[in-house]
């Protein structure tokens, strides 16, 4: 239990530290990498909580997602390297106040609520088996809905991002 707490605290501090770096650095590539490390530290926290399947899934998904994100950031940002020192923030005081209030409320809830006794973790093979049964039985509808939502989002995203015929024709006429 003590070792688990130590690992949780270590990876938790790493996740928080890298999350701060995301909004503190002016280089967008560093920002994307910091978010990758923050999400990886969250995955490591899952592993420390003996949730092997979700931990590995989180690390794999985030590595891919952040690699794509870094490419998009370099494509779309006005100053991806952060060399000109542009300030890309607004309403700072309001944002800090909202962040602090959100944190204080959540910390207060975590500390003040009586959570009851801590339960032991099921073994990894039982977890994977039971999660599979849960997905294919009781939560089947939720699982299927998630799949259909992903398909819908893929089609909608392609439709939004694709260049319209009118724009292509205008470009050719010019």
């Amino acid at each position: 239990m003590i070792l688990q707490t130590v690992f949780l605290a270590f990876f938790g501090l790493a996740a928080i530290w890298f999350a701060v770096i995301v909004f503190h650095t002016s280089s967008m590539v560093r920002s994307a990498l910091a978010l990758l490390f923050s999400q990886t530290a969250i995955g490591a926290m899952f592993l420390a909580m003996q949730t092997e399947f979700l931990g590995v899934l989180q690390i794999m998904m985030m590595a891919t997602e952040m690699a794509i994100m870094a490419v998009f950031m370099v494509m779309y940002m006005m100053d991806p390297g952060g060399l000109s020192g542009m300030d890309m923030t607004h309403q700072k005081n309001l944002s800090i106040a909202a962040g602090v209030i959100g944190t204080v409320v959540a910390v207060g809830a975590a500390l003040l609520v009586d959570w009851g006794p801590i339960a032991g973790a099921p073994p990894p093979e039982a977890q994977v088996h039971d999660l599979g049964i849960e997905m294919m039985e009781r939560s089947m509808l939720i699982f299927e809905t998630a799949g259909v939502t992903i398909l819908t989002a893929m089609i909608a995203t392609t439709a939004i991002a694709i260049q319209s015929r009118q724009t292509i024709q205008e470009g050719e006429n010019e």
Binding site: I16, V20, F23, I42, M45, E134, I142
Partner: protein, 102 residues
């Protein structure tokens, strides 16, 4: 009790940092990063609740899978909108997006 509290505190701080990022950044991609950090904090809480309070109920892990799906969809749709916006305006700065008001 200690590991649960540690995980909940980390989740709370991550949520606060993400909220600050989503509200303070002017660029669409950076706003999405703020939302990602917030969702990360929520996932830590969900896994901690499942693991330390009700490990016999696998709906907790299902919630985390759904949040991961939402994260991926948010990125995909956000980048789709970003690409469309960049084609028309040449920028994804949200302060320049007031024309979306109509």
């Amino acid at each position: 009790m200690m590991p649960l509290i540690v995980a909940l505190l980390v989740g709370a701080v991550l949520f606060g940092i993400g909220l600050y990022g989503a509200l303070s950044q002017t660029n669409l991609v950076m706003i999405m990063m703020g939302v990602e950090v917030m969702l990360g904090g929520a996932m830590v809480n969900l896994v901690a609740f499942w693991r330390f309070l009700h490990p016999e109920v696998y709906s907790g892990q299902m919630f985390v899978l759904i949040v991961m799906t939402v994260m991926a969809l948010e990125m995909a749709v956000g980048f789709g909108i970003g690409t469309g916006r960049f084609r028309v305006k040449g920028s994804v700065e949200m302060e320049e997006a007031r024309d979306l008001n109509g």
